[in-house]
Assembly symmetry: C2
């Protein structure tokens, strides 16, 4: 294709991308030092409409360092309609961390697996990925570094890091091979570029980008399934049993004791800078709000935040579905309480048909990955499911309808969800089976007896925090 | 009011606030150490619905430190419908910075003036403010600190900072008086609370909050007017003059030279960690896009970002109007280019009646404050207005309509804006008069001759950067 034609076609394709807002594009460049990466990006940027483009070359901020590693990239996933260009990005992080022995061999392989998962998740949500590996021979690299260093206009481009990467040329070459081999995929292909002047490389990159924007990509394979753990909860286990009612004075006493214990545990978690995530899911009117209130009553308001998850905002709707949960992950030492959560993907979105079957099926794996990232960062994850019987739910709905100050809690949606009781039942048990994982266990709380349910919630949170605090000693 | 009635009314008012999404509430607590601030917030939080509340006790992150001071608070302005509680916040910052001599006396007064402006801007946009000053005598404070330090359960609350604030009790008392006196306003009143147990203070705070949520507040006074500078641009000055056309080879040569100069200037600005903001405003089809492209062609893609300002997202629409510009301010060393900007408030929003007259009139002052914050942080601000004649605009519209690959640039809105030519003319001149300020000067660029206009834009940016870089030496 003629250079001008190519340039014009690429721009047209980008404007169409921006107009349609159906897909985002992520272009990542990594590889050897002194391969003109910066200049190539600049040359490409001169061909693109910069109003729809963003370029990221990262030095992680303190906000990024105090959250799971992948947060820094999730927050930069471009909106649909936009092109995000990453210099080095997650591939460079893995490559250089391993070359400099900051990652052990096993941890490097784990990271490669996370990269595969991240890229598959983006691709499945309409993000088009293209990855460039910038190649240069050892001798040519040395000559080029020397030439750059000798010219006062370019000497600033050559520092100790560049020389170190030159010394490690062989290691980077072989790690790069492993990196590409482990993360090559039809939905996230690598393209290798040998050192040439950026202007000469540009057409190849532009062609790759044009093809990536224009042509449909194969769907990534869904996340691997995992065998359920032995003792997965099942919803029917929450069936109400005949137990003696808990008298109010006794309830208050036990509540106060549990809250006092929680206050100490939460403070200790903050002192040790553990991030804590507590997820509340449950049937409508099962008492999530009341339980959350009993929980937060014991906490320091500076430490926690309650996230009520409803419909996504328009900024959220323009990104992969998990983006809005990533953005709410707490910093180290903070506690985030989710009143409904990412599990909406496999509950309401499944039952109401808001997500396709393929989308909610792959969400089980995506959720496992999301939670694994939090756990790997040292986070504590506590997942609670509040269940009530069908009869008790009806009683509570009727009570809400009859009581003026409770009426706002009851919506048409609640009645509609009730119609789908069996569908929800099925979705909930499937969710338990797929996402009850080590460190991310579900606790099923029988909610017909409100007092006992609230105490049970506090008990679980206390136990989980204490177990974690004891283990961290 | 009975305690339970009060609690219930407050909750009702909060739920109504959340339902209507017409206003946000900001509650700030500051004052002496050992006054139960944390416990009071916790007690209040137990009365509120935490799903609509957020509490902020700040230690600025690296992202915050590398932007103008107020960025950290603007980003935390709650959405309409929500309550944001700030412990110390901007008042505590001013108070303790002055007590510890990190702010000189004059700088403290400047900060007070900024606080007045910030609070007036929030109030004018529907944020209800309430400020609590927590009072304690010097002896009582000492006793209380000693008691807290002696109890292992509370000893963690007392550190060197608290003792230092005890030593500075008299200074804090007198600075607090000045702070309250300087920032007291009907739209942002102070309430003083003497030390009592949080449970005893709670009803007063709840009553204050209830009144603040429920009753209409007086509108804050508009920002002070300023006398226009002597040499304010006027739109008619951009009338086309008969000049010799600039031949293409000569244009290319001059363009390349200006871009090379810009590349050096921008790199030096990055090296010195200066944040740079370049604003492009102009008549439709005046050539903003083309000028931006000639500018970015000279820049390192890692350094800059182009922000195209269109309609606010729903997250933005729930905050004061300036929020969406604050969130786009560049970090130190970065360059942000605005393709249209906050000036839409006094241009399109004024002419199209999207903002009330009171709103666009006060925007002149709000814009001056916004830009002053950037300048005070050491930023460089370059504002360009691209003008074309009415005949030239018509020619360009017709050309766009006739050329397939330019057609997307022409919308019905462009034709409608053209109908309002005189209204825009008036709005533009009023904008120049009110916002052409020292360090924030407008440059009017005559755009009928595209080549000369692009060179003029580059020339202005180069000159302004060079002046700033020379001054910073």
């Amino acid at each position: 294709m003629k250079r001008d034609t190519l340039r014009y076609r690429l721009l047209e394709a980008q404007l169409e991308l921006a107009r349609r807002q159906e897909r985002a594009v992520v272009l990542l460049l990594t590889g050897h030092a002194a391969t003109h990466k910066g200049q190539l990006v600049n040359a490409l940027n001169r061909w693109l409409e910069n109003r729809h483009t963003e370029v990221h070359a990262l030095a992680p901020s303190s906000e990024e360092q105090s959250r799971p590693y992948w947060w820094r990239y999730w927050r930069r996933v471009p909106e649909r309609g936009r092109i995000g260009i990453f210099i080095h990005g997650w591939h460079g992080d893995a490559l250089f961390a391993r070359a400099e022995r900051r990652l052990a061999a096993g941890a490097f392989e784990d990271r490669l697996s996370q990269i595969r998962q991240f890229e598959a998740e983006l691709a499945a949500e309409g993000v088009v990925l293209l990855k460039l590996w910038m190649e240069i021979g050892r001798h040519a690299q040395r000559d080029r570094l020397q030439a750059l260093a000798a010219d006062p206009a370019t000497a600033w481009q050559v520092g100790p890091v560049e020389w170190q990467r030159h010394v490690q040329h062989a290691a980077i070459q072989s790690l790069g091979r492993r990196l590409r081999e482990a993360t090559e995929a039809p939905h996230a292909p690598w393209q290798r570029l040998a050192l040439r002047e950026p202007d000469a490389q540009l057409p190849r990159v532009a062609e790759g980008l044009l093809a990536a924007i224009g042509e449909p990509r194969p769907a990534p394979p869904p996340p691997a399934e995992v065998a359920p753990l032995a003792a997965v909860p099942r919803l029917h286990q929450a069936a109400p049993r005949e137990v003696e009612p808990l008298a109010k004075p006794r309830y208050r006493e036990r509540l106060a004791a549990a809250q006092a214990r929680l206050a100490i545990n939460a403070r200790e978690a903050a002192r040790r800078r553990l991030p804590v995530v507590i997820v509340f899911e449950g049937l409508d009117a099962a008492g999530k709000g009341g339980s959350i209130h009993r929980l937060t009553a014991a906490l320091d308001a500076r430490q926690y935040r309650v996230h009520r998850i409803a419909a996504p905002s328009d900024e959220e709707a323009l990104r992969p579905w998990a983006w809005r949960f990533w953005r709410r992950l707490p910093a180290d030492g903070r506690l985030a309480i989710f009143d409904r959560s990412w599990y909406g993907r496999v509950l309401v979105e499944r039952v109401e048909g808001l997500a396709s079957e393929a989308a909610w099926r792959r969400a089980y794996g995506e959720i496992r990955h999301f939670e694994e990232r939090l756990l790997a960062h040292g986070g504590v994850l506590i997942k609670l499911f509040l269940a009530i019987s069908r009869d008790e739910q009806l009683r509570r709905f009727e009570d809400r309808a009859a009581t003026p100050h409770k009426r706002h809690k009851l919506t048409a949606e609640d009645w509609r969800n009730r119609e789908h009781w069996d569908d929800y039942h099925q979705a909930i048990d499937a969710m338990f089976a797929a996402t009850h994982r080590p460190g991310a266990e579900w606790t099923l709380v029988a909610g017909d007896d409100k007092r006992r349910a609230r105490l049970a919630v506090l008990e679980v949170v206390n136990e989980r925090l204490e177990a974690r605090l004891a283990a961290a000693d």
